[in-house]
Symmetry: C2
Subunit: 605 residues, 2 copies
């Protein structure tokens, strides 16, 4: 299993906070900032870097703590307020909703004149430091970088850094050689008159070098740092034991290898160079090291992010193949669920395990792309629910089961959500499902001119819900990598989506509806932005979406009376495509099931 | 007539440029910047301030010129490139499309080391100065403020400043007393710790003081400057002869009156105060005078703009009354047009005049709200077309007539566009009209949560066109004032619309389609943002739009086969409302016409 359903017990909050405070006192610190981050600012971090979790018990994917000598707080966003309150020892830590009090505001109240607040310059970005500095200075306090993290000093059994083996991501899958990518990105540096760019985001480095790795759960990256030079060569810095001969040969002469401790000395050699850094993701220590060496620091977006998001034809073909394979596993799973659910004894964990099993049986699964959300009834109303032994609900019937999951295959990353009626759905389930589906279809069918941004597409997904006085409190979609992160920038379909959509980008299309304490709905397909083409009878080129995900949408939950003819036509055509694509790939039982579940809306029932 | 159809002849470009250059030489200037602006940065400027037009012949509503000793250029946006090329003497001035070369880039090429570029600090904003300064400094040139404009020195028959009489805008129309408005805005200054705010936008001052005036065409404002203080009192600076006793009594003790020359001395008295200015609209001389006096300048948005945009219930009722009156005039006009057009002899100017006549015959028209766009066939394909004696096309039949117009009434400002089939429309006309109409209807019916911005609504208007490979190159809508500017911020329905829509805002809803050399379509209603309410069967409060404009939409141009049932239902309901509202207000002939033209779609023909 790639997923664990254990809830880590944690009642060490007060003791560990006391240990940290003792260490702070030894160093003359009045406060210390503990982000949920490693030096690469990714969504997943190695266990060694789970300092926030070790200290506070909080296991969410975003958050931070600040410990002062007399107060301490854990800051979380709206997704995690309930979870944090459950996991964190309230006697030791306040749990603070970041929308109400941001860490800066809290610091202004908690810190005083002359206080010294420590932070780890590997874990904090220049953008974050600026905001902490502003708060500290407002009350006469100051920040101090602690390059050896005080938590590491008091965490006796802290695990070592991960040592996953790197592997070549061959050109047959990547579509473009690393040399070509390096030349292209270096060309952009040259145009911008930059001598070098320091890359610290694993996705960027793995994409640029056509490498993958095994350092993290669910995201197949090798953790490393890199300096891309104007001449297209790269200094790659990592624990060199991760690299076997095949990888070394693949990297070739254009990539110079350095062991981890050489990172800062290498930066110091960039004196008098003009060096690009990404303010929102680079560690503070990279900036300060460069400035001390006399380099000119220039804030820029990581130059790999946009070309990485535009998948080339090989990556697009890989995504189609991965989704076909994944769709067959999903069909097997959904068929199994329909057969077993009527007993009323299935539980959420069992369902998640079975889906992972079927994905595994494709023989191609490298990992799941995130912990599966297997959520029955009221549990589905929490958009970010993760099942554990304690919450493991029985699918007893009369409500909906929501399953949001994905696979990491070498040719592509998948992410799909389906909602299944367990027993006979009620009118309110069907109405909400149909409204969400109409938004999902509107995005699937969208045509839009070049320059259109995600906020514009996001509107299309919400219009049917808004008209009915409903809405959902997350974005409509996120970018998805090519055997990389299942969440990838720069584009998103959301109110904050200000980046233009470009051909080759892969995004999720996942509107939802959540009724607290009752049920939740989310319907998710991945879509690929198609090249400009003039629609029939039109005059201007428009982009559009090709739907990649292939799996039936539960027609028991569709109320055709609430749909328009053109929407029903889309759904019928999608199901015909799903049938044709998956039929050859599944067993006899699943074929029968597929035939029933991909019927035309007018003929279903 | 409020509109003139004469094309000003202009062949003085070279001679006037020579005069300006001679004046520049006398002052030691190597260049001079000539914006199309007065000291209040409005859309309409007094003739006295039409310096760009006097110098270059260009009559558009936006643009600027730069004269160097050996080169000179007129800069215009995409709307005006053709018009400028026709109006400007190409031997004297280059015509430059601002999207290709902005004035800064041109200046970098045209100016050299040591050059002194003059500008009028009353006509340039600090934001504009910054961008000019950057360009000048890049080539070693410098800017110099010339408080007495060199053009005025060589313009022998320059008209005087306008002296329209001010009038009270009574509380029965304004809904809120000036004292209450001043207290409310002053409260916002106090919260922001500002001692005063310098107001230079006429709309803001006229709104704040419940005054209107007659200094400009089409916008009923009194030109003035004002300083609002933290205590809610105002220093009002203008030519005092504009004010009669009634206005002086209305203004009362809280408003101190000062003649125009006292403006700068008054600012100088604000030493050591914290003074708010709007960087994008205040004249540079206001900033420099304050700084020289020792005041602290704080850049803020003009604090009147947002409260002015939220129309109160009295203003909303006024808008409804104005639209009812205007709708009756429109119905009379459209009925007349349908009767006269078949002769094939009507011309665009005649059509515009007749519409103004009918508006005038309401007995309530104070002005038209902008020069009417009366555009037949290919002329309609220019979104900003203005008919003149030279372009005055015959409505010969077989194409479409587009008429975009509005009235200024004391209770409200209107703005409406209708497109009328002249003769029998062809399928391509009906298809395009129906697609535009569907976008217009989508906006009319929109429901959306608080916080939704114009860019999100703009998408709704474009979706039917995008799906067909069509689009239009202007925003979907602009804010509209209450007997003030027909174009008003801060909200807009456009790709740049980042301001949240709020209840009480009035906006236009005017998608279009333009086929160059053939025909143009724009269908425009004004809409009022309605208060939050939970739609039936819903859970969350949504805002929406109430359509204010009342006039039939030409059903001869509607292809019901291209519409959805719910869209047809909206159109039928709108027409039923138009019929009920206008029937009591129009003559017998118009009643018969109204009955035919507001028929249900299924029964029309």
């Amino acid at each position: 299993m790639y997923q664990s359903f254990e809830t880590p017990s944690h009642d060490h909050g007060a003791a560990r906070l006391a240990d940290l405070r003792a260490e702070m006192a030894r160093r003359g610190l009045d406060g210390f900032i503990v982000p949920r981050a490693d030096a690469h600012q990714g969504e997943y971090v190695p266990v060694r870097d789970e300092r926030l979790r070790w200290l506070t018990g909080f296991t969410g994917s975003a958050g931070q703590a600040i410990a002062m000598t007399d107060r301490a707080a854990v800051f979380v966003d709206g997704r995690y307020t309930i979870q944090a309150a459950e996991q964190v020892d309230a006697d030791a830590f306040e749990t603070v909703a970041i929308a109400e009090t941001d860490p800066g505001a809290w610091l202004r109240a908690a810190a005083g004149e002359g206080d010294v607040i420590g932070f780890d310059p590997w874990l904090i970005t220049p953008a974050q430091r600026e905001s902490y500095e502003k708060a500290a200075h407002a009350v006469g306090a100051s920040l101090r970088a602690e390059a050896d993290n005080p938590i590491d000093a008091v965490w006796p059994d802290q695990p070592p850094a991960p040592m996953g083996s790197a592997e070549v991501h061959p050109e047959t899958l990547a579509g473009t050689s690393s040399a070509d990518k390096r030349a292209m990105v270096a060309g952009a540096l040259d145009e911008d008159d930059l001598d070098a760019f320091v890359l610290t985001l694993p996705d960027s480095i793995n994409w640029l070098l056509n490498i993958r790795g095994g350092d993290l759960s669910h995201t197949p990256v090798m953790l490393a740092d890199a300096v891309l030079h104007r001449d297209g060569t790269v200094d790659l810095i990592l624990d060199l034991e991760k690299l076997d001969d095949a990888v070394r040969t693949h990297l070739g002469e254009g990539v110079r290898l350095h062991d981890t401790p050489r990172f800062l000395p290498l930066l110091s050699e960039l004196k008098s160079a003009r060096v690009g850094l990404e303010k929102a993701s680079v560690p503070v220590i990279v900036e300060t090291t460069l400035r001390e060496a006399g380099a000119e620091v220039v804030w820029r977006r990581d130059p790999c992010i946009l070309p990485k998001a535009r998948k080339n034809p090989t990556e697009q073909a890989g995504a189609r193949a991965a989704h076909l394979r994944d769709g067959a596993a999903m069909a097997r799973f959904l068929c199994w669920l329909d057969a077993k659910a009527p007993k009323g004894t299935l539980k959420e964990i069992k369902v998640a395990k079975r889906l992972e099993q079927y994905r595994n049986e494709t023989g191609k699964l490298r990992d799941i792309s995130f912990d599966t959300i297997s959520a029955y009834g009221p549990n589905g109303a929490q958009p970010h629910y993760r099942v554990s032994r304690e919450t493991n609900r029985v699918l007893e019937g009369g409500s909906l089961h929501l399953i949001d999951s994905g696979g990491q295959y070498r040719d592509g990353t998948t992410d799909i959500t389906r909602v299944v009626a367990i027993g006979t759905p009620e009118a309110r389930h069907r109405r909400a499902f149909t409204l969400v589906l109409r938004g999902m279809i509107a995005v699937s069918r969208a045509r839009f001119p070049e320059g259109t941004t995600g906020v514009q597409i996001d509107t299309m997904a919400r219009m049917p819900l808004w008209s009915a006085g409903l809405d959902f409190d997350h974005g409509t979609g996120h970018g998805v990598g090519a055997y990389l992160g299942v969440h990838e920038g720069p584009a998103s379909l959301s109110k904050r989506g200000t980046v233009a959509l470009e051909p080759g980008m892969i995004l999720s299309n996942e509107p939802g509806y959540y009724r607290e304490g009752d049920f939740g709905i989310r319907i998710e397909n991945l879509v690929l932005v198609t090249p400009p083409a003039v629609p029939e009878g039109g005059e201007r080129e428009m982009l559009g979406f090709e739907t990649l995900t292939l799996a039936p949408i539960d027609l028991r939950l569709v109320d055709p009376a609430l749909m328009r003819d053109d929407e029903i036509a889309w759904l019928d055509a999608y199901h015909a495509r799903v049938y044709d694509a998956l039929y050859p790939l599944v067993d006899e039982t699943t074929r029968d099931w597929l035939e029933r579940t991909t019927a035309k809306v007018a003929e279903f029932g």
